[in-house]
Amino acid sequence: MIRVNLDIIMARRHMSSGELSQRLGITPANLSILKNNKGKAIRFSTLDALCKILDCKVEDILEYIEEEEHGTDGK
């Protein structure tokens, strides 16, 4: 799965959700969806703006985590 580490970067940059959503031009509700890993996809334009505003790289925001396989052997 892909984890969004936006809250970590925001804390490092001392940036509030309100300020970031305003600078990104998205609603606080949508930023919350992104921050809480509830989103299904992220636009390149959003990612581009995030990197620019937070002065970071894509890999600082997105992280791949291997998901644990759920057993299907009925045990």
């Binding site: 969806i33 989103g39 996809a41 636009r43």
Partner: protein, 151 residues
Amino acid sequence: MDAKNLARLTRWLLYGVFGGIVLLLIGLYTWAPLRAFFLAAYGIGPGGSAVVLAFLTAMGLIALWILGELVAVLRTVEEDPFIMKNARAFFRMGFAAEAAALAFIAKCFSAFTFMTAVCGLVMLLAGLFALVLAQVFRRAVEYKQENDLTI
């Protein structure tokens, strides 16, 4: 006329049809001239009246079920029609229409009239259409959810 007003107008028309069917169903059991009119229209003698009455009542109840589902769908048009509830409503409408089609087709074998055959065909096609629409709505809801969660 915009979508909201069109939906509102259709909804009020459906309320009228709903009320009409309810009155007919009540009248069928309480008003002898109406019952006689229906029995004469079906060309079935007094001996077969219980079967015809049961058939008409069942069709009336199915019609009310379909109309109720349609009104519930039309209520959502004013806000957001692409919800899973509507997909399920279309599935139920399709199921109800197919049940009615089955009854009309069965009636064709016992008491054939031209209108029974037409009603059977119309209900069969309407039911299939509603079932297809249920699938379309399901896909639309999935697309919408994906779009809403794309930031």
